[in-house]
Symmetry: C2
C-alpha cells in the first residue's frame, strides 16, 4: 500500500524545484497556445461547437497530471478520437445539436468508466493485440477520412457527412460549382503558412499564426459578409458543473463506439507515453495506472462539459521538446485555457472555420504512413497485407469495422502460421558434433539409417495433424533402411494434450515398424508435461538426450557423457 | 491426372479377389443387420419416421464405397448428426411432419454441397481447429442430451422437445405420474439385453436381439392396446427418386445447422477412418477426398429421400472387426437394407418405440468421456477447462453454441499463452560448454557481467511488450556490472515486423547503456528476416554466434571457431 501507486503526482511533487518549474512553465505555455486552435479544430471535427474543445482542455489535463504516470503526456482533444465521436454520435443525433452535445459528454463518461474498469482489472494487455501494421493501416485511413471530412470547410460548401471516402469525394465534386473562393483562399493560405512555419522552424506554433491571420483577414476584409463561415459568438466563462444526462437506451447505442474509443485512445496515449519515457528513464510508465488516469480524466471531464480526450502525439512531443519535466506543465496549460475562456473568447468571433479545417488537415496528413507501408513491403509481406487490408477496410467499410477486421485477420494469420510451422531435417556438420537443416547447407552428412527431424512450433491441437504428416512423410522417404528417428525438440515451446497424443502415436508407429525413437533437447516446460503424462516412463529415460550427437553416439554404442540429468529434469 | 485419385474404388476393384470377398461378405451382412435397428432408431432421434433411417442406409453407402478413401468406414445415420437434424429442423417445422421430412432431405443436399465444396477447395484442414478436449466435451454433452431426449419413449410419456437438459429432466419429473409401465418394462429389458450381449460377447448384435424381443413381446402380449407406442405401418419398397424441394428462404434458415453438421460429421468420420486406417496401412486416407466422398454421399442420398449421414464410430468398428477389406462390404450392407425394405417391412409393425430408444441410449452413454476428463485433469488443466466449458456450454446454451464456445476459447487460450511465453535466464554447466535455465538447476555458473536470456516463442505483435519488459527486467536486475547481453534465439520460431521493431529497440537501449548485445542460434527463417530487415548488418555479423559458448569466448577474447557461416546463412 503506497499512496504514490495510486496518486503518481506524489512521485514528483514533494521534490518539486525551480529547475522543474522553469521547464514546465515554458512547455505549459507553449502547449496551451497550441491547444487553443487545436482544441477548437478538433471540437469542430467531432461535430461540436468549437468552444467545447476548450472545455475539454481543462479538467482532463489536471486529473491526468495527478493520476498519470507519464510526466510529459499532453492530454486533451485529439483528431482520431474526435473523428470517432463524430462517426459514432452522428448516427444517433444531428451534428452540433443540443442532443449531440449531450451524447458526446455522456460518451466521455462511458469511455472513462470503461478505461477505469480496464485499469482496475488490469486489462491493459489487451491493446497488445493491435499490431503495428494494423494501427498504421487504420491511422492512415482515418487520417484520409478526417482530412477529406474537412473539405467542406475548406471549400465553403456543404457536403453530407460520411465516413466513406468515396462518398465524400463524390459529393464534393457534385457541389464544386458552389465553392466559396474567399473561404478557399483563406484555407489555402493557412495551410501554406502552417507548413512554412514548420519548414523554417519558427519558434511559434503555425496553427496559432494561422488563427491570427484568419481572424485579421476576415475582420479586415469583411469577408464574413461574402459567405466565409466564421465561428461567431463564443460564450465566455468556464465550463459549468453538471451530471452528464444519463439514459440507458443511449448508453446501449453508444457502447460500441465507447469501446472503440477506449481502446484506440488508450493505445495512442500509451504509445506516445512510452516513446517519451524511453528518452527520460527517471520514471516508469505503468499501463494499467495509465488506464485509470485516462479513465478518471474522461469521467471528471464529463462532469464539466468535456467530450472524450486522450494523450495526443503532437502536443506531447512539443511539451517534451520545450522542456516539460512534470505534470505541472499540463496544469499550466489548463490554467492558460481557463484564462482564455474567461477573457479572450470575444477575439474568436471572426475566426473562419476554414482556418480550423486547415489546422486539422495539416495535422492528419502527416499521419499517413507511406514509409511503414514501403518498409513492410520489403520486409514482411504478411504484415504488409494486414496494413493494406485494414487501410482499405477502414476506408470502405467504416472505422470500427476496419480495425476489427485488422485485429481478427492478424490473429487468424498467427494461428494459421502455427498450423503449418517450419520443419527441418538435420544433417551433421562434417567433423563437428553439430547438426543443421539440410535444406540450407549443402555439405552436411546424412546417414541413411538415421532421421533427425526438427519441428519449429509449439505442438498443439491445430498442428498435430501437420506434425504427424510431415514426420511420416520423412520416415517414408527414408524407407526401410531407417533404424532411428531423433526428434529435435529444441524449438518446441509447448505441448497440449492433443500434442501429447500425437507424439504418442508417432512413437507407437515407429516402434511398430521396429524403428527406435528418441527425443533431444526437450525444454523444461515440456519435460514437466512428459513426466506428468508418463511419456518419459513409457519411452524410457534412456531415449532422452541432451544433444543430438549424444543420441547418435548412443545409437552407435559409443561411449558418451549423456548429461541425462539435464535431459529429463522436471519441476513437477 | 489419375482416375484412382477421383474414384478411389479403382484402387481395389481391379485387384478384387475371393479372400477380400469372404471378409466383405461377413462384415457387410453383420453391419447390415446392425443398420436395421440403428437406422430406424437414429431416424426417430432425428424426428423422422423410422423408415427414413433405412432410406438413408442405401445410396450414401454405395456412393461412399465408390468415392471414399477408407475401405472400412461404414457410412449411414449416426446419433450426433440425427440430434443436430432434430435440433435444427425442429425450430422451423413440426417434428415428424411432411414439411419436417422435406427440410431434413434438403438439409442432406446442403450438407453434401458444403462438404463437396470444402473438399474441392481443400478446406479439410479447418477441422484441425476442433481440439480433442473440445470434441470430448461436446460429444459427452451431446450424448447426455441425446440420451435424455429418449426418456419420453422409454417412459411412454410426452415431453416437449428441448436441447436443454435441465428442461428435459424437469419436464420428465412433471409428467412422472403418466408413466406407462409396460413401455418402461420393455425398454429396460432391452437395455439389459443389449448390455448383456455386449458383456458376454455374443456373436449377434444386441440391438437386433432387442428388436426381435420387442416385436415378439408386443405381438405376444398385445401391449400395443395398453398404451405401448409402436412403429405401426411401415411402407414397403425402395426410396423413390425425387428432387429435394428447394426453397431459398429455407436454405437460409438451415444454413447454420448445415454448416455445423458438415463440420461435425466430417470430423467424426475422418477420426474413425484414420483410426482404422492406422491398423491396416495398405491404403491412405486423403482428407479432402473424404470430404468429396461424404459430400457426394449426402447429395446423392438427398435425391433418394435420405437425411444427412456420415461415417460412424460403432458400425465402422464392427465392419473392421468382422473382416471388411474393401468398400464392397458397404455395398453388401446397402443391398441387405434394400432387401429388407422390399420384403421385411411388415415385420416392424409391432416394434415398440421404447426398443429404439433403448438402442440409442446404450449407444450414446458410451460416448460420455469420463476417462478423458480424468486424464486431462491430471495432465493438462487448461485442456481440462476447455473440455468442461464446452461440455457445460453445450448442455446449457445449445449444441452449436457449445462447440463454437469451445473452438473460440481454445484458440483464445493458444493466443493468450503465446502472449506470455516461457522465458529463461541461462547459466553454464560447470566445466562444460553448455547452458541451461538457472531456475531449474542449482549448480549453474552465472557471471555478473553477462546476461543470457532465452525467449520461448515466436516474437510477434501480441508478445513484443512482454519480451521488452522481461529482458529489461533482467537487465535491471543485473545492474551496472552488466557488459554483455546474449539473446538465445534457439526457440524463437518466427518474427513479424513488430518483433523486428522490438528487437531493434532492445538492441538500441543496450547500446545506449554501453552494453554489448549478441544473438545466438538464430534459426533459418529468422535469419532470412534479419537479413531482409538489415538487422544483421546493423548489429554486425560479428555479433551473431552459433552457440552460446562462442559468444562468451568472443567476449573473453578467447580463440574459437565461430562457425560464422552457420550463424548468419540466409536463403534470401
Amino acid at each position: 500500500m503506497n499512496i504514490k501507486q495510486y496518486l503518481p503526482i506524489f512521485e514528483w511533487l514533494p521534490k518539486y524545484n525551480n529547475t522543474f518549474f522553469k521547464g514546465d512553465l515554458v512547455a505549459g505555455l507553449t502547449v496551451g497556445v497550441m491547444l487553443i486552435p487545436q482544441g477548437m479544430a478538433y471540437a469542430m471535427l467531432a461535430g461540436m461547437p468549437p468552444i467545447y474543445g476548450l472545455y475539454a482542455s481543462i479538467i482532463p489535463l489536471i486529473l491526468y497530471a495527478i493520476l498519470g504516470t507519464s510526466r510529459q503526456l499532453a492530454v486533451g482533444p485529439v483528431a482520431m478520437v474526435s473523428l470517432l465521436i463524430a462517426a459514432g454520435v452522428g448516427t444517433i443525433a444531428e451534428t452540433g445539436s443540443e442532443n449531440f452535445i449531450e451524447l458526446a459528454i455522456l460518451l466521455a463518461l462511458m469511455v472513462g468508466v470503461i478505461q477505469l474498469l480496464m485499469g482496475v482489472f488490469k486489462l491493459g494487455f489487451l491493446v497488445n493485440f493491435l499490431s503495428h501494421p494494423v494501427i498504421a493501416g487504420f491511422t492512415s485511413a482515418a487520417a484520409l477520412i478526417i482530412g477529406f471530412s474537412q473539405l467542406k470547410h475548406l471549400l465553403g460548401i456543404s457536403i453530407p457527412r460520411s465516413n466513406h471516402i468515396h462518398k465524400i469525394i463524390g459529393n464534393a465534386f457534385a457541389n464544386l460549382d458552389a465553392v466559396n473562393f474567399q473561404t478557399l483562399t483563406i484555407g489555402l493560405v493557412a495551410i501554406v503558412l502552417i507548413l512554412l512555419v514548420k519548414k523554417i522552424k519558427l519558434p511559434i506554433p503555425g496553427p496559432l499564426l494561422a488563427v491570427v491571420f484568419g481572424i485579421l483577414a476576415v475582420w479586415g476584409l469583411g469577408w464574413h459578409n461574402q459567405g466565409v463561415k466564421i465561428v461567431g459568438e463564443v460564450p465566455s466563462g468556464l465550463p459549468s458543473f453538471g451530471f452528464p444526462s444519463f439514459d440507458f437506451e443511449n448508453v446501449k447505442l453508444l457502447l460500441p463506439i465507447a469501446l472503440t474509443i477506449s481502446f484506440i485512445s488508450f493505445m495512442e496515449s500509451i504509445a506516445v507515453a512510452k516513446a517519451i519515457q524511453s528518452k527520460h528513464k527517471n520514471y516508469q510508465i505503468i499501463p494499467n495506472q495509465e488506464l485509470i488516469a485516462l479513465g478518471m480524466a474522461n469521467i471528471g471531464g464529463s462532469f464539466f462539459q468535456a467530450f472524450p480526450t486522450t494523450g495526443g502525439f503532437s502536443r506531447t512531443a512539443v511539451n517534451d521538446q520545450t522542456g516539460a519535466k512534470t505534470g505541472m506543465a499540463s496544469i499550466i496549460s489548463a490554467a492558460m485555457i481557463a484564462l482564455t475562456l474567461l477573457f479572450l473568447t470575444p477575439l474568436f468571433y471572426y475566426l473562419p472555420n476554414a482556418i480550423l479545417a486547415s489546422v486539422i488537415m495539416v495535422a492528419v496528413f502527416g499521419l499517413i504512413d507511406f514509409k511503414e507501408a514501403k518498409h513492410l513491403w520489403h520486409t514482411d509481406r504478411g504484415d504488409f497485407a494486414m496494413m493494406i487490408v485494414t487501410f482499405l477496410g477502414t476506408l470502405t467499410l467504416g472505422i470500427e469495422e476496419g480495425i476489427l477486421i485488422g485485429v481478427i485477420l492478424s490473429l487468424a494469420l498467427i494461428i494459421f502460421r502455427t498450423t503449418q510451422p517450419h520443419v527441418a531435417v538435420l544433417g551433421k556438420i562434417p567433423e563437428k558434433p553439430h547438426y543443421k537443416n539440410i535444406d540450407r547447407f549443402d555439405h552436411l552428412e546424412v546417414r541413411k539409417e538415421i532421421l533427425i527431424f526438427r519441428f519449429d512450433a509449439r505442438l498443439y491441437f491445430a498442428n498435430v495433424n501437420y506434425f504427424k504428416e510431415k514426420i511420416q512423410e520423412e520416415i517414408q522417404t527414408k524407407g526401410k533402411d531407417l533404424k532411428l528417428v531423433i526428434l529435435d525438440a529444441d524449438s518446441m515451446n509447448g505441448m497440449d494434450s492433443s500434442g501429447v497424443h500425437a507424439l504418442e502415436e508417432v512413437i507407437e508407429s515407429c516402434h511398430d515398424a521396429q524403428i527406435k525413437f528418441c527425443l533431444v533437447g526437450v525444454k523444461g516446460p515440456i519435460r514437466d508435461i512428459l513426466h506428468r503424462t508418463k511419456i518419459i516412463d513409457e519411452l524410457g529415460e534412456e531415449n532422452f538426450f541432451f544433444r543430438i550427437q549424444h543420441a547418435v553416439d548412443f545409437f552407435d554404442k559409443k561411449e558418451n557423457n549423456r548429461y541425462l540429468e539435464y535431459a529429463i529434469q522436471t519441476n513437477n
